[in-house]
Symmetry: C2
């Protein structure tokens, strides 16, 4: 199994004008990304937001599917949503992974635009074989803020389709990334 975590970042991300915002949590991000994380054997799926009401919302959704009537209605949903951990900030994510792994994870940023220092899927796939913990970070809204990206260890190349159109949803992008890395 890969030693890979995924973190969905709601702050700091940018809006369509490039301003830094804290985005709202989208219910289907939780479902889709946890199901993809479960499919590809990820260790945890971190949902990161500094907004307390949003963290409570996430906790309530998870509880419905893991302890509530959703758990008996659809046990397959439960086993996916159980992977979700909610954190206030990305540094809390790093600390928790470090506690589990006895080592801080290598952090990978993602972006729809090409960066000069991007690493390829092939390279990241090979890196995952070294057993070290990695955390793949996904931006909501219009993507991760540059100040966040600057602190990560690597940037993954963008997903290129056939057309130059690069506006996949974060749910679709996450699914494609995990499939390219671990499928």
């Amino acid at each position: 199994m890969p030693n890979l975590y995924v973190a969905l970042i709601h702050y700091p991300v940018v809006d369509k004008n490039g301003e830094i915002i804290a985005s709202a949590v989208t219910n289907l991000d939780l479902h889709d990304i946890s199901r993809a994380a479960k499919t590809y054997g990820l260790k945890s799926f971190y949902v990161v937001t500094p907004l307390e009401d949003q963290r409570e919302l996430v906790a309530r959704i998870i509880s419905h599917w893991t302890n509530g009537i959703g758990a008996t209605y659809n046990p397959k949903r439960r086993s996916a949503l159980e992977l979700i951990l909610v954190k206030d900030s990305f540094s809390e994510v790093l600390d928790q992974i470090a506690e589990t792994e006895k080592d801080y994870p290598i952090t990978i940023a993602t972006c729809a635009r090409k960066h000069p220092s991007s690493i390829s899927y092939e390279k990241f796939r090979a890196m995952l074989n070294n057993g070290k913990p990695y955390v793949l970070t996904l931006g909501t809204a219009w993507g991760l803020a540059e100040e966040f990206i600057a602190k990560t260890d690597h940037m993954l190349e963008p997903i290129a389709g056939k057309t130059g159109y690069n506006h996949l949803s974060v749910r679709s992008a996450a699914a494609i990334m995990l499939d390219r890395l671990l499928g």
Copy 2:
């Protein structure tokens, strides 16, 4: 560009007990799958439902993003959602593609379970080079009904992850399929 269409089927599909139902349209299916279809250069994205109120709902959502305030707020959404065509039945999809292409498309079913006659992604990817029109069909709810699958020309192999867990959302599955076929 590939000569590929995608169709999201809301009837006949099965519920968790295997009963045939007409499922409800999910707003984010429209957004996510149209954006993936746009990314990978598909010709159209058909949304198929026999329920008139559901077809009206889809038309209203598309209109918001292609003619309404959504179109000026987010033109990238418009160019994706413009790919959507709403149809009453799959036979109407086939007739319309045949009219455009002067040839009926080859139909491909998808399923999370392995079928004895499934074709591989590699094989389907090669088939797409022959220039003929193809339509990839995706089931909502618990998947396409057997009676629908039986009428298609081919079945695509399921997406296998690392774990045996095979419960991706249709949005994630569509993204992965298009990436494997055209990425």
